[in-house]
Symmetry: C2
Subunit: 206 residues, 2 copies
DNA sequence: AAGTTGTACGAACGATCGTACAATTAGTTT
DNA sequence: AAACTAATTGTACGATCGTTCGTACAACTT
């Protein structure tokens, strides 16, 4: 127990901050981090514009905080569940299924948050882009390591590239064309690619 | 020869219009179609804001015209070259190579124009989104038909999904991380997937 | 030469953007 | 109860947004 020193004021502040960031991430997944305006955010949350602003001090800090908040949600929905499965093919499958569910269930209303903001910031300089690129790298590494833990699969880098490509393609297609079939295609592609990797391993072995 | 009736005024108008749209497509590939502002466009081209505006009548029309202009450039760089090759595996390979070159050579400074604007508009309603979705459908269909012309390959829909996923992934990774290696991975993925399809065909045949 | 058409311009519009700062309210400490 | 602190608000700012309008000028028609 360390529930000492709970200042009701900062407690309240942190709560509104969380509400702001949750809404911000939702908006940004649809309209982008630039489409996210402080005034609009304040209007939708029924608080004052200066109240929102005061929490972050600048729009860039709001964007950075939004990315961090979205990353936390991503980890909770996609990464954590896979960690309950022991390393190996099972964990990888859980990870990929988790990602597809995270996208298909519209955890963010605009589909995958990072797909949206990645495409928005990939070609411009700045701290927001760097932050997004950092999280993207982490995600790539994590998928690669998860694959690397399966000795049957050679070239985890290449396989990670292909599997992530299927996931992002499913998200993109399903959002743009309102077509849930894209997820079936991605699942089939993943299944096929993993089967191929296993085949190659057994062929090499003999 | 039918060079009759060349009105010097409309000729001049069309030329500035082309210049506007070329620059607009460049900007939009980096900053998005919303990041594209009429005032900025006018500033960079050293013409008046009202002059730019007069050509389109509204920002939405400017965005639509920009998408059309970008589509024309895409067709010229990717689709047309493949049409010089007879239908079959050769044409497909030419098409995919052409796309990767179009992205890698930065025909648009922000990488593939359609990757950028697709992610920007995929989750909002409106005519711009519909236009982008239409072009995306055309592209999907064209790739699928090109594959379908190869009798050895079963399930052109699925294969098109996977191949396009590799292309987009290469574009995304290379732009975000400034990593040209992504294109090698995509080429390897394409090669592998086509080899697998051919293998499956020969196995079925016997 | 006179009249018409098409492009481009400059100035101004209301709205909204991000930001600044002083005033106010709510909660904690003395 | 008074003093203090943190979260929130209201008001205002300069800049930029998309858009409108009247005008200037070059090019074409008669």
């Amino acid at each position: 127990m360390d529930a000492v020193k709970v200042d009701g004021r900062v407690e309240r502040g942190e709560q509104t901050r969380r509400q702001i960031l949750r809404r911000a991430a939702e908006i940004a997944s649809v309209e982008g981090l630039e489409g996210l305006s402080i005034g609009r955010l304040a209007g939708e949350l029924e608080v004052s514009k200066s109240g929102v602003f005061a929490h972050f001090g600048s729009k860039e800090e709001l964007q950075l905080a939004t990315v961090r908040a979205a990353a936390a949600i991503f980890v909770r929905h996609v990464v954590d569940p896979a960690l309950t499965v022991p390393p190996g093919l099972g964990r990888l499958e859980r990870l990929l299924d988790g990602w597809l569910a995270y996208s298909e269930d519209r955890t963010f209303p605009g589909g995958c948050f990072f797909y949206a903001v990645q495409a928005e910031f990939d070609a411009r300089p700045g701290r927001v882009r760097d932050s997004i690129a950092g999280y993207a790298r982490e995600w790539n590494s994590y998928v690669r390591e998860t694959i690397a833990a399966i000795p049957e699969i050679a070239d985890p880098d290449q396989v990670a590239f292909e599997l992530i490509a299927f996931l992002e393609m499913a998200n993109a297609q399903s959002v743009l064309h309102d077509d849930p079939l894209a997820y079936s295609r991605a699942r089939a592609a993943v299944r096929n690619r993993l089967a191929q990797a296993a085949d190659a391993a057994s062929t090499t072995r003999r």
